[in-house]
């Protein structure tokens, strides 16, 4: 199968400076040795709690955050990660949509300006046709053409997220990174947006990378899942593998902590909070909260075992039932 994206051993470290001379004292390893790959027309999801580095991962892939080390391969082309310009040829085909539908649209630009800008910059269509094209895009995401001259403030959260989608699909991308795109929306609207994305995915043969903290949402849409904890991938696998039989204790506790409508299965509590990235515990980073901790976990960092799915980074992975 064609790989749309391959990331190998990606590291995005933020230097923490201190002292009089602003020397680098240590690094915040927001993304530490992460490898993922996405096949054509596949939906993968990256899950984790806040501060686990999942958003940084998305930004690093598109070169919006300087990367320290690793390999990024877009459509078979290996990028020179040290040069910002090496992403430029791929700006059209690799897109990102952000979480907050309110701040991701420039409040001073009309819908027409917002949607036409990428079309003109990438010379998708001429100035003459652009208005018509923008109208088509609006209809494609389920908005009326009459909205073309309005400002973003006139739209609700769901409609704004539709605009965000319209802006990127105009470029006929291969991959869209969706960074928590529905977490700010109401449940009823959230389902609409997911529906729209799935429809477009089918029509345009898109690949999607969902970055989310909402496991139940991911369960309904994704093909494969990567679970991140403190900058590292702790488990990955196909959707059924992760949700039916998680092997990493963290994945399991994460799944169990979610409240459901089923009153007979109350959430089970995972004690403690995720440590901050500046104080990652030695050894297995999850050992401070792990219910199955053993001596080895405190001392040795567990490697991510397995070449392809499923992978797990645990010394004592849970048995498959």
């Amino acid at each position: 199968m064609n790989k749309v994206l391959q990331v190998r051993h990606l590291k995005t470290w933020f230097p923490v400076t201190g002292g009089v001379f602003k020397r680098v004292q240590h690094y915040l390893k927001a993304v530490d040795d992460v490898s993922i790959s996405i096949n054509e027309s596949e939906i993968i999801a990256v899950v984790g709690e806040s501060g686990c580095g999942k958003s940084t991962l998305g930004r690093s892939i598109l070169g919006l955050t300087p990367v320290r080390d690793g390999e990024i391969v877009l459509s078979g082309h290996k990028l020179d990660i040290k040069k910002r310009a090496s992403w430029d040829p791929f700006r059209k085909e690799y897109q990102i949509i952000f979480q907050d539908p309110y701040s991701s649209l420039n409040p001073r630009h009309t819908v027409f300006e917002i949607l036409s800008e990428p079309l003109l910059v990438h010379k998708i269509c001429s100035k003459k046709d652009v208005r018509e094209r923008v109208g088509d895009l609006l209809e494609k995401v389920g908005l009326s053409k009459d909205y073309i001259d309005r400002f973003p403030h006139a739209f609700s959260g769901g409609q704004r997220q539709r605009l965000g989608i319209a802006r990127v699909i105009g470029l006929s991308p291969r991959l869209i990174i969706c960074d928590e795109i529905v977490s700010a929306l109401d449940v009823s609207v959230q389902a609409q947006i997911i529906h729209l994305l799935l429809k477009l995915k089918k029509e345009m043969n898109l690949s999607l990378m969902f970055i989310s903290h909402d496991l139940s949402l991911i369960n309904t849409i994704s093909d494969a899942v990567y679970v991140m904890y403190l900058g590292k991938i702790v488990e990955s696998g196909l959707r059924e593998e992760i949700f039916n039989a998680p092997r990493h204790p963290y994945t399991q506790s994460l799944l169990k902590a979610i409240p459901t409508l089923d009153i007979n299965s109350p959430p089970i509590i995972l004690p403690g909070e995720p440590p901050s990235l500046s104080h990652v515990p030695a050894g297995c980073s999850f050992h401070s909260r792990c219910p199955f901790k053993q001596d080895k976990c405190v001392k040795e960092i567990p490697p991510l075992q397995g070449e392809d799915f499923p992978q797990v980074a645990c010394h004592f992975p849970l048995e498959r039932p």
Binding site: R59, L62, L64, D88, R91, K92, Q95, I96, F98, Q99, D100, S103, S104, L105, N106, P107, R108, H109, T110, E117, P118, V121, H122, D149, R150, F151, H153, A154, G164, R167, V168, L171
Partner: protein, 350 residues
């Protein structure tokens, strides 16, 4: 949800303008100052010692537009005719001639040496606000002085705004080394004694309008640049800027089209106050004698005349009043703008 006419300005801008309109004194001050300034651009038609039209010997002349030697009207010299004197000559009235003067028939540079007594002359029907120590009409000088003052202040505010936006904006946008280097430069630059620089450059290159404007705008941008730096720092991390980057937009577009329109609040709130600053500093420099080259009509020069001739109070009183009302109007506008941009009334619950 929105009206048709709201479509081309964002609702925020419209709401701000409405709020500005609600501050009545600011709104009217803007109109008054605007109209007076607009009229003052045509000073030559309001205060001039040349008539609009002159009919002499059956011929029609437009002295306000063209130069006519005094020989044309039976004078002896080839210099420009003295229309005021001409009006009183007997041959002029005999030849069924007439002329129409502007409402204030005085030139700000003309010394009226025909008046009886020593200058300064007190207010009279002919000279509404009297004359100054060189027998020039005070009203005409005030009017021309207002124009120069306002033009200077406007241009100064504009140029320092542009400089402030670009330098401060770049600091915020680029950050890092450029920001630190520029910040140190600004610290050194703002420590330069501004007045000495003006005096020094004035003695070397003369004291023209343009030189003064250039020097002053080199110093005025600093205040705004701090604000713009902050705005750009904040706005460059907004999601829509990130989106623009990921869509492959260039730096120029991002700077001017994505960030700048959202960071104009300090520019607009500060503008009226830098206008006030411009007016006051030009007046102050003129007052000290380091401003514009005499005999340019200027308020500062009138003020210093008035102060050294307190026995002729009409000079000082009229100038101080003019200055006071101009600054008051500008302050009202500034206050209204500040009120309109005050975010407190923008917030609401749920």
């Amino acid at each position: 949800m929105i009206d048709e006419d709201d479509l081309f300005f964002s609702e925020l801008s419209i709401r701000r303008f409405r709020r500005f309109k609600k501050v009545k004194r600011a709104y009217y001050a803007m109109w008054i100052l605007g109209i007076v300034f607009f009229l003052s651009l045509f000073c030559e038609l309001i205060a001039n010692n040349k008539p609009y039209v002159l009919v002499y010997n059956g011929n029609v002349y437009f002295p306000i537009l063209r130069f006519y030697p005094s020989q044309e009207f039976g004078g002896e010299y080839r210099t420009e005719a003295d229309y005021f004197a001409l009006q009183k000559q007997s041959h002029f009235n005999e030849k069924k001639s007439f002329m129409i003067f502007p409402p204030v028939p005085h030139d700000p540079l003309h010394s009226y040496l025909d008046l009886s007594g020593e200058p300064p002359h007190p207010p009279s029907l002919r000279h509404w606000l009297g004359t100054d120590t060189m027998a020039r009409d005070v009203f005409a000088r005030l009017l021309y002085g207002f124009r120069i003052c306002m033009l200077f202040a406007l241009l100064l505010a504009l140029s320092s705004t542009v400089l402030g936006i670009i330098i401060g904006g770049l600091q915020g946008y680029l950050g890092g080394k450029y920001d630190i280097a520029m910040q140190r430069f600004i610290e050194i630059w703002s420590a330069l004694p501004f007045l000495y620089v003006v005096i020094l450059i004035g003695t070397w290159y003369g004291r023209s309008f343009m030189i003064l404007l250039t020097i002053m705008s080199f110093f005025q941008w600093i205040g705004l640049s701090y604000y713009m730096r902050g705005e750009f720092f904040k706005l460059k991390n907004m999601n829509y800027v990130q989106v623009a980057k990921s869509l492959g937009l260039g730096h120029f577009r991002i700077f001017f089209k994505q960030i700048l329109p959202n960071g104009l609040t300090p520019v607009i709130t500060i503008f009226p106050f830098s206008l006030i600053g411009g007016i006051s500093s030009l007046t102050a420099l003129d007052f000290l004698g380091f401003g514009l080259q005499p005999p340019t009509p200027s308020w500062g020069e009138l003020l210093s005349q008035g102060l050294s001739n307190l026995y002729a109070p009409w000079i000082a009183i009229s100038t101080v009043c003019a200055l006071f009302f101009t600054l008051l109007l500008a302050t009202f506008i500034g206050e209204g703008v500040r009120e309109a941009f005050d975010p407190k009334s923008d917030s609401y619950l749920e």
